[in-house]
Symmetry: C2
């Protein structure tokens, strides 16, 4: 593979350029004429399908059912909860015409579906026996951000699931909002090998309309933190605005307690950014669409030996569900580079000499070096290697995240820490004013609250809400 086909930017020194080259050259995305709207090519969409399968199975175990609500939300409906519309109005894409005709009321393309869903919840929920109501949908959403778009990480259209649930008691809702966050954590940590910080967002950073928001935060290689997903406890904010009430067992009217929670295609961008290296993608085996590629080495001058190699390679692939790359119009070296660029966790070479020795040559994507493995043991060795790679990617990223967190006790220390591309940790009061002050002085935002604290706030000296982590944020 020539330089123009491979990634030419170094991840450490030119992260943005490296990221863009990697996702384009590894055939994960394609740009379109609409800024912020990308094509998810099969290479990335297959990973999204793996995320979907993981999360969907976990949701269903909780009794959550899938549904589908319309793309269009009438303007009046979107405005029904005051904080919510204030948060989303600047980013709404509006449909004003159909064919040649102007619409009588313009329609928002859903930026999120609270309003359209909760109008229906109000119709469906009558009695405590209708609760909990646990719905989820897998959809596209549109938020017309005016910041610079980056594929997966910040786009104007993205894919996600949004869960929306109604409960008879605050306790039941608060239990669920945490259970969901833990499912999200497992998806990041177990499937994508990304360590995350789980905690509660500050008052300023919570979802528009929520009582509080829980989040996962990850550390990006450029030293910035990135919000990985959120799970919101909405309290009774929406149920009062939409009149979602029920008769309890005593025959009294009560408003439901609600949650909403979402996981988006941003997760793919986080994974690409965290694990990749100068050669391109490095995919954790559990999410890699192709886990093992077999490259037979054949020689036109040795047709008989080559035919044997090819036959053996085919057999191995059929037996183990490995991917065969028999494109003999490309050199082995070209093919090796392409599979490295695409991040396939394990590569197996087999040539005439290997076959004579009854071995294959196995390489792992995340480390240098090759090993010869007897063919009879190849399946077992590779299965173990895949697990080892998964664990090793996670351990490396976890070490990096943990070592980047530094305790601070003043704004000056915080500023110094985040300017080095690290995360700062401190006991903090959590107030909106104080957050704005910190932002102005240091450029950092609060990420989330890691633990309660009895200490005083490092900014105001007032009692702390808890120990928060701060960082420059993507």
């Amino acid at each position: 593979m020539g330089r123009d086909l491979g990634v030419t930017a170094e991840k450490q020194d030119a992260f943005s350029e490296w990221y863009t080259q990697t996702i384009l050259k590894a055939e994960l995305i394609e740009y379109t004429d609409v800024s912020g709207c990308i094509v998810y090519r099969p290479g990335s969409f297959a990973m999204w399908e793996t995320v979907q399968a993981f999360l969907d199975a976990e949701f269903k175990k909780l009794g959550v059912k899938n549904a589908y609500f319309p793309l269009f939300i009438p303007e009046k409906l979107l405005q029904q909860e005051a904080d919510h519309i204030e948060g989303f109005a600047p980013e709404v894409a509006w449909v004003t015409h159909a064919g040649d005709s102007p619409l009588s009321e313009r329609l928002a393309i859903r930026p999120t579906s609270e309003t359209i869903m909760y109008q229906a919840f109000a119709k469906w929920i009558r009695s405590h026996r209708d609760l909990p109501l646990l719905l989820n949908q897998w959809t596209n959403v549109v938020r017309w951000e005016f910041k610079h778009p980056t594929p997966f990480l910040r786009g104007r259209e993205f894919l996600w699931q949004e869960g929306h649930t109604a409960h008879a008691t605050k306790k039941a809702a608060e239990k669920e909002v945490a259970v969901i966050l833990d499912i999200y954590r497992r998806c990041y940590e177990e499937l994508m090998a990304i360590p995350v910080l789980a905690g509660q967002k500050s008052e300023k950073e919570k979802f528009a309309g929520a009582e509080y928001t829980l989040s996962l935060e990850a550390l990006f290689p450029n030293g910035k933190a990135i919000q990985a997903c959120t799970s919101h406890h909405l309290g009774q904010n929406f149920s009062k605005a939409f009149d979602i009430s029920f008769q309890n067992a005593q025959g009294e009217k009560e408003f439901v307690y609600q949650n909403s929670w979402g996981f988006t295609t941003r997760s793919l961008g986080v994974m690409i950014g965290v694990h990749g290296d100068d050669k391109g993608l490095v995919l954790p085996p559990r999410i890699a669409p192709i886990k093992v590629v077999v490259v037979p080495i054949t020689f036109s001058k040795k047709p008989e030996a080559s035919a044997q190699v090819l036959e053996r390679a085919r057999k191995l692939c059929a037996e183990n569900n490995w991917h065969l790359d028999d494109r003999d119009h490309h050199s082995p070296g070209f093919r090796f580079s392409e599979w490295e660029l695409k991040g396939v966790p394990v590569r197996i070479e087999i040539g005439p000499r290997d076959l004579e020795k009854d071995v294959v040559v196995v390489s792992r994507r995340d480390q240098e070096g090759k090993q010869e493995v007897p063919i009879a043991q190849a399946a077992t060795v590779v299965d173990n290697l895949l697990e080892e790679i998964q664990a090793s990617l996670f351990a490396r990223a976890k070490e990096k995240l943990e070592s980047s967190i530094t305790d601070v006790s003043s704004r000056e220390e915080l500023k110094a820490v985040v300017s080095e591309g690290k995360l700062a940790r401190a006991a903090w009061c959590g107030s909106v004013e104080s957050e704005e002050e910190i932002k102005a002085a240091t450029g950092a935002k609060s990420l989330n609250m890691q633990a309660p604290s009895d200490d005083a706030c490092f900014v105001t000296g007032e009692p702390a809400q808890g120990v928060f982590v701060f960082g420059k944020s993507y």
Copy 2:
């Protein structure tokens, strides 16, 4: 269940009212404030997931890969193929503003994705080695129809899959377009127990931009035919408009041959309409989200016997993955009616007397009558019964479809046949003029071509293109 909870309209006499009541009361859909945009509640969405799983597995066997292309298509791009834009322009929903800002170019919400996909195909396809390119996506699409919307059958937003493929030769493309139609046929016939007529659409009724369109057509109980799905051979119409070309093995430039094919949530409406009866839904077992419901009959005056009944019912449900309805705040009669309304194929009752005799009482939704079955044999009997119901629903619908087709040899005969709610069959030339003449004289459209023919056209006397079926169309 009171009359107000059950379906009050008779299917035979008041089909539209019956259909609307059934889908609302069986909790399949909810209306929203936007006409033509409905909520797919879990009861219907679960069936769509079953359709998705069936089709997706078949597509993947063919090597088709899933991807995702943007919702928004710039106006200029949508106009790039002349017939295509002419067909879709009247139904396009336009986004003109984002937040408070007007957009520089208005954006179409995809009515179908040929144009946005083929712009990318032109970038990706260079060599014959890049072919075939076989992509599919599962998405929402918007067609702002001004006809009266009907849930599932005609809406402004619907869900579908759209496959888009590019081939080196016309032969390869034409083979695929027929293979896909057969997968669709199996989905209707094997999964949904709906017999269909497979064939080629007339020149007038083909897709805007296609060389020809294959379709499946079903017979609705109101005597109207309904187009069930389509598979289009696009020839080189789009590849020339979008410059999708490749170097063949001889180094010459050629344009690709393309297909596009789609299967929509309309299929659910067809199934509901064909199988339902005056009590509501009748679901074929293979697509029913709940295949078997167990209703324990308990008595507050017999607490001990009731506890035993409940325990046995729970055990049966756990062993066989049946649904337990232990809502003892509703009478057994109420619960029976609700499961009938929801179309659950098999209902099992078990009460204290049944338990004494070691039997359960089994009813099938599609026929009257109950049978006592020894508990030890219940699982086997029910499994066989589910297969029998599936086969029986299909056979009944097939008999009805076949007996409704009548051969005709003049416009007068055709008019008489279709006015009785039947389908007419005749050798026909297939011309646009002749189709318009037939429509004006009889109210009928051609559905599709069933077979070649050496006969003369029943309208013009010219050589026939083939034997077509005609009917009033939904």
